[in-house]
Structures are given as structure tokens and as C-alpha cells.
Symmetry: C2
DNA sequence: CGCCCCATGTAAGACGTTACATGATTGA
DNA sequence: TCAATCATGTAACGTCTTACATGGGGCG
């Protein structure tokens, strides 16, 4: 079986939350800050058909409602399995370096798809991966300091700061989940 | 004339700093935190040839040094013009939403390619674009708070925090440039 | 009737990934 | 001589972007 594109995972996650048509999904992408995963029909409809061909989602044509034919997709058991498997992948250094988008997407979907314990797991593995990563970047900063122009150095500092802020966020998010899981519901 | 891919701009920026061969560029990508712009020969060599076909770079074969033939590329005047034009593009909201990578790349190259005033310009336009963007995200947070699971809300909060940290960084970077430009050199 | 929104799609083209191929040189 | 490194490339494949096509329905 072929693998699933980033857009494919975004679609799986959204369909796990609610069955929806291609048009609905497009609107969700366009309205929320998920435009990054493409909001064009030329990407979404083919992606949906790929997922259907892989047996991860199934579309049922909904007609007779007066409107034009509309195909509503929902996750299959296999699709839910793939989604869970993807969410539970361990988080390594490369996941941090290659943009946080996919990691955050996994985290965002984790609670509904698996449960709060899975969300907590993701946060903890992010936290442990972040420390060494920040240290590496700081070493690189010292390395380029003599040879790089100010703007190059500042750009790297910007990256370091953003990972530090991410680290703070993980701490905050972990404490929220631990309170929620230990104590009562909010 | 066709437009230039992200990888193309990364190559132009690196070649403006120093002439280099495809192999050199690959090593730079692999060693620094620029792996995001692909480190595979199947991407770099075709990209270089596209740039050459557009007249933005020119490669000179360097032979007789004992090693195997090596093609060293350098920027043409036209290439430098394109690079400057790209760096000077105004920064809008979409640039922030669609990942900071390209913006930071433009900033990192700005000082060598144009000068510190251009770097300062970029920082200032980032600063003015960031305020409204953060406010938008905060509005969206209030909107989804009742309907979204904790993990979805936290993911959005993470994005907001990262933009806030970016805003702090712009202030810091602006002050550095202003000192450098007003006062003496560091 | 004309226009805009719903809802789905297709076709062409550009780009990157993966994997493989090639050949020359250096060092063990 | 064998392996590793230097240095360049190619071919297949998948995916996204852009732009266009289609047709029903509501509305002025």
C-alpha cells in the first residue's frame, strides 16, 4: 500500500471528527488556519479518491434532498487504524526540524482519535526531543557567529527562540492534561 | 519567464554569497538547518539547470585541477536583480500564515544582497503584519473554544505563542539594526 | 433572463522524492 | 585492488497548482 500525503492525513483527521463532503472540507481548510494543506479542488478531490481507493474512507452519495448530488465521506475502520498509527508514531529530531506542521496536526487530532493519554504522550516526546535540538542550534549559532552577517545570525536566533517558546508551551500543555487526568473534569 | 521555486531562491541566495558547485550546495543544505529546501541531487541539479536556462546563474566548468570535472555556478546580474526583487517584496498576512520559512530566508539573505537597510525594512513590515495576525488567531481561539477538544485548542494556542515570540524577536532585531546603523559598528 | 453560489470534477504542467547509474580519484 | 568519497546526473512516480468545465438551484 502506498503512503498517505500530508493532505491525506489532514483529511482523515477531519473526517474522523465529522463525516463531510469535499466541499465541506474545502471550506474548513479555507476558513481555519489550515490553508497550508491546500484549499484547491484540484488537490482535495483527487486526494479523497486516493483515500477511498485505499479503503480508508468511504463516500455515500446523498441525493434527493433537493440540492445537487453530494458525496459525504466517512472514515472506515481501516482508515481510523491508519490515523491512529500515524498519530502514535514516535517523534524524532527530524520531525522538529522539518517544520512543526505535521506534528501539531497529529497532536490536534490525537484527543478525539485516541484519547487524552495519547495527547500527553505526544507532548512528552516533544519535550524530550526539544532539549537536544535547541542545544544543537545554539552550537551552530556559535559556529556561524564569526563568518555570518548579522541577518543570518538573527535568523538562526529566531529559530532558536521559536523552539524555546515551543518548549514552554509543551510544559503548559502537559500541566493542563495532567490536571485534567488526575483531578476532575474542567 | 517562469517563476522561481523556493529551492531556486535558496540557491540564488547561497550563490550570491559564494560561487559554488551543485555538490557544495548540497553539502550546505545538509549541514545547516536548511535541509527543508531539499538535499537530494534529484532536486538540486535540475533546479540549477532551470536557473541557468533563465539566465539567472552561469556555470563555468573548472577542470584540470586533478579532480573530476566540477561545474561552479555564480550569479549573473540578472540573477542578482531577481534575488533583490524577491527580497524586497512587501510582506503580507499570507506570508506569515503560509509558514515563515520563505520570509526568514529572504531576511537571512537581505543584508549581503542589498544591505542592512533592506533587512530593517523587512523586520518593520513583519512587525506591522504580526499584530493583526495575532489578533485574528485569538479571535479564532475564542470561536472554537466551546466546540473543540482540548488538543485542538492547545494547538492553536501554540501557534499564537509562536507568533508572539516572533514579534518579540522582531523588536530585538530592529533594535540591533538601529543601533548598528545610527551608532558605530559593533 | 442573468448572475452568483453550490458541488464536483478534469487537464496541463511544474516540482520534489526516491532510487538508481556513472565514472573518476583517493586511501587502505 | 577494493571501498569510499567526489561529482554529476537520469527516470519513474506522486502530488500540488492553476485554470478551466460543468450543471443545478435560488434570487432579483
Amino acid at each position: 500500500m502506498r503512503n498517505i500525503s500530508p493532505l491525506g492525513y489532514a483529511l482523515l483527521g477531519l473526517l474522523q471528527q465529522n463525516p463531510a463532503s469535499g466541499y465541506d472540507l474545502r471550506k474548513i481548510f479555507a476558513s481555519t488556519s489550515m490553508k497550508t494543506y491546500s484549499d484547491s479542488p484540484g488537490a482535495i478531490y483527487p486526494a479523497l479518491r486516493r483515500l477511498e481507493k485505499q479503503g480508508l474512507i468511504r463516500g455515500t452519495i446523498e441525493e434527493g434532498n433537493g440540492l445537487r448530488r453530494r458525496q459525504v465521506f466517512h472514515l472506515t475502520a481501516k482508515g481510523l487504524g491508519e490515523l491512529k498509527k500515524w498519530i502514535r508514531l514516535p517523534i524524532g529530531r527530524d520531525d522538529l526540524a522539518s517544520g512543526l506542521k505535521m506534528v501539531m496536526l497529529r497532536f490536534a487530532f490525537s484527543e478525539r482519535a485516541i484519547g487524552p493519554f495519547a495527547s500527553l504522550e505526544i507532548l512528552k516526546s516533544m519535550e524530550t526531543a526539544l532539549g537536544p535540538h535547541v542545544q544543537d542550534l545554539e552550537a551552530k549559532l556559535e559556529e556561524i557567529r564569526p563568518v555570518s552577517p548579522t541577518s543570518g545570525r538573527l535568523a538562526l536566533e529566531c529559530g532558536i527562540r521559536s523552539y524555546e517558546s515551543l518548549l514552554q508551551w509543551t510544559g503548559y500543555a502537559i500541566s493542563i492534561y495532567e490536571n485534567q487526568l488526575k483531578g476532575g473534569r474542567s
